[in-house]
């Protein structure tokens, strides 16, 4: 099991290094990390995915960092999680149509077409990315890149409406 932590930090030089290397030095395995500014000026959010064992200590150690303002753990059942993936698969002109049809089912966008390959972009829940990859992988993955995970707690009101949307 893993845990997703949403960490609000001050945009100060070295803050990402502090977070990442504190985790490394204390032996907390980071599975994924994504960082970017938020709507409030001077603040950024780091989304961290860490292993189960460590979560309480990670949270407390993160709080000890002076530039960390807030740490919240996001319950996977109660949060919106996204990753972006770019994947290039072999697709000779003869099967290109078929490959693209498969991708379309997942809502992946074709962003590049070469002589023997097609490149898709998919931004979705991490599980959907894995499912997509399992399928499209049959055609032969030539290259692949994934972003770190970003996540946000579900809005309490929207939750009942959206049900269990992933």
């Amino acid at each position: 099991m893993h845990h997703t932590l949403s960490v609000t930090v001050q945009d100060k030089p070295g803050v990402l290094a502090r977070v990442a290397s504190m985790c490394a030095l204390r032996g907390f395995n980071i599975r994924s990390l994504a960082v970017g500014p938020i709507h409030q000026p001077g603040l950024s959010r780091i989304t961290l995915v860490v292993d189960d064992v460590a979560v309480e200590q990670v949270t407390k150690q993160l709080h000890k960092l002076v530039n960390v303002l807030k740490v919240s753990e996001l319950d996977p059942n109660d949060s919106l999680e996204r990753e972006v993936m770019l994947v290039r698969v072999s697709a000779d002109p003869g099967i290109r149509r078929e490959v693209r049809d498969t991708a379309e089912v997942f809502g992946a966008t074709t962003i590049d077409v070469g002589a023997k390959t097609v490149t898709f972009e998919l931004c979705d829940h991490p599980q959907r990315l894995s499912d997509f990859l399992a399928l499209i992988g049959h055609y032969g993955v030539v290259d692949l890149v994934k972003s770190g995970r970003i996540a946000m707690a579900r809005d309490a009101k929207a939750k009942t409406k959206a049900g269990t949307e992933q």
């Binding site: 001050q10 070295g14 290094a17 200590q57 407390k60 960390v68």
Partner: protein, 570 residues
């Protein structure tokens, strides 16, 4: 307003924070700051090595409770203070380190004497600042002092590029501290206080397990009141020696690897540990899985990350331990209005029985080699215990902690968490600078002493008349002890050729009084002579038994229930 240099602003900022002394070594990048220092009321103590300057700042902070300041240059100056920074982090000592840095425009270019100072110090400080605008200097200094001296105290580093020190700016008073991510709690949660009292009222074999947090928080009075109100025995960790008077009927001495039989066993047998400002260090717990197996735990600490790190407490209380103790005492007062404490006389009798049966002990033969423990006892007698004891790291440190009888806080200064050899001489200098009217005696080992003895020169030139009692057992005694016990007496690299250097001559060469004795009878008179010499620092070398070992002992990672009173128990 007239303009002044960033360097002048820096020094004025230190004055604004109430700094009276700074320890340091100058150099290229920090040079501009040393000029306004000449006109400042701040005393500068010129150390002979930056590590020494850092430990001096620590010794000063330990002894006075105020923030110690160390100023060094970039590159090698900065790398040389990493040991004191980590030492201060482990022992929660409030110091502010100011490092010069190469000019902003040169940073990252491998410029002369450039080192990645904030990167190196990132994990051995509470926080680091890299100043990138001269106008920030006074606010950064203000924040650094705030961080160092509040919450869980610790080291803070400010790295200042040289060009900012020569930039002309206007002085302004620092604004209010703006650290939205830093809000240490003071009071404990009232529900947890009540739950703690519940456990205390139920416990039949409670122990107060007290750490350095009590000293940092200035909570000794409150601790005494609390312990007496409850009639609970107290053990003080290596960092907490002096937090509770050793002569008190409830005092059990030190716990852990070289703790007293009584303290170690009482924790193993306890049904409740009241852990105050302490962190369940492995030197205290041995194997944590077998530590205090039957005890529920109330853990009070100002650092939430310490709670549950090693041991999950039944009652976690985050707060300043002094405030929490006040809360506990008043909650207890209310509760004792209609309830009474359980009868714990049996527990106290059991403890008294252990104390009588298994006291700390050693054998001093009248014609045999001097035992270090005997030296400590003689020193205690000669001083009446009225002094600040500073120590190095090794057997002598354990013996000093074991055989001294502490009566008040801030009279025991040592390197606990990091175990830094070389700490004693510079830390003693810092302590004496901060407390010039107190007698300051460093009990040092020959190995530890040789790591920083150049600071003897600092002591004499700066007229800081400390005393050093050098326990010369001719080697790295503590390591040798492990080789004796666990490596079949194969002594690898632990012999320090006991007669070289000639310590007394070395001391004399540094402007000290140097003396040496090697028989038990000479120890007392030599100590008294040392104590009556106050115009200069004094070093008294005492040749001691190289084979003597520290007991009791809980082997590293072993169970505290298997505490050994001597080699036959291992």
């Amino acid at each position: 307003m007239p303009k002044m240099s960033g360097a002048a602003v820096l020094i004025k900022s230190l004055e604004y924070e109430g700094v009276e002394v700074a320890f340091g070594v100058p150099g290229g990048a920090i040079l501009p700051a040393y000029d306004p220092l000449l006109d400042s009321p701040i005393r500068h103590v010129l150390a002979r090595h930056e590590q020494g300057a850092g430990h001096m700042a620590e010794g000063y902070a330990h002894a006075t409770g105020r923030v110690g300041v160390v100023i060094v240059t970039s590159g090698p100056g900065a790398t040389n203070i990493m040991t004191p920074l980590q030492n201060a982090l482990m022992d929660s000592v409030p110091i502010v380190a100011i490092t010069g840095q190469v000019a902003l425009s040169s940073m990252g270019n491998d410029a002369f004497q450039e080192a990645p100072t904030t990167g190196m110090a990132m994990h051995c400080t509470k926080h680091t600042f890299l100043v990138t605008d001269a106008n920030e200097i006074c606010d950064v200094v203000h924040q650094a002092f705030h961080l160092a001296s509040t919450g869980r105290k610790g080291p803070v580093l400010i790295d200042i590029p040289k060009d900012l020190l020569v930039t002309e700016i206007e002085w302004h008073e620092p604004g209010p501290v703006d650290l939205p991510g830093y809000k240490p709690s003071r009071a404990g949660h009232s529900r947890q206080i009540e739950r703690a009292i519940d456990l205390i009222m139920e416990a039949s074999q409670p122990v107060l397990y007290v750490g350095g947090g009590i000293i940092a928080a200035g909570a000794s009075e409150e601790l005494l009141q609390f312990a007496e109100a409850l009639d609970v025995p107290v053990t003080t960790t290596l960092m907490a020696r002096g937090a509770f008077p050793d002569a008190h009927r409830l005092a059990m001495g030190m716990p852990g690897m070289h703790g007293t039989y009584t303290a170690v066993t009482a924790m193993q047998e306890a049904d409740l540990l009241i852990a105050l400002g302490t962190r369940f260090d492995d030197r205290v717990t041995g194997n944590p899985a077998t530590f205090a197996p039957g005890a529920k735990v109330i853990h009070v600490d100002i650092d939430p990350a310490e709670i549950g790190k090693v041991r999950n407490p039944e009652v976690p209380i985050v707060g300043d331990v002094r405030v929490v103790l006040e809360q506990l005492v008043s909650a207890l007062g209310v509760r004792l209005g209609d309830e009474s404490l359980p009868d714990r006389s049996h527990w106290l009798e059991t403890i008294a029985g252990w104390q009588a049966k298994y006291p700390l002990s050693y054998q001093q033969e009248p014609d045999g080699p001097v035992k270090a423990q005997y030296v400590i006892e003689q020193l205690l007698e000669a001083t009446g215990g009225d002094c600040i004891v500073v120590s190095g790291v090794g057997q002598h440190q354990m013996w000093a902690s074991q055989f001294w009888s502490f009566s008040k806080p801030r009279t025991w200064i040592n390197s606990g968490g990091l175990g830094t050899m070389g700490f004693a001489v510079p830390a003693a200098i810092g302590a004496k600078v901060g407390m010039p009217d107190e007698l300051v005696v460093a009990v040092d080992g020959d190995g530890s002493f040789q790591m920083t003895f150049q600071e003897m020169v600092t002591a004499s030139t700066e007229k800081v008349p400390i005393k050093v009692v050098l326990i010369n057992n001719g080697g790295h005694g503590m390591v040798r002890q492990w080789q004796t016990l666990f490596y079949g007496r194969r002594y690898s690299a632990t012999d320090l050729s006991g007669d070289s250097p000639n310590y007394a001559a070395l001391a004399e060469a540094c402007g000290w009084v140097g003396m040496m004795v090697e028989t038990p009878d000479d120890v007392g008179p030599a100590l008294r002579k040392m104590l009556s010499t106050n115009d200069r620092p004094v070093l008294l070398e005492i040749r001691t038994d190289p084979d003597e070992m520290v007991w009791p002992m809980v082997p590293a990672g072993g169970s505290c229930s298997d505490i050994a009173l001597g080699p036959e128990d291992l």
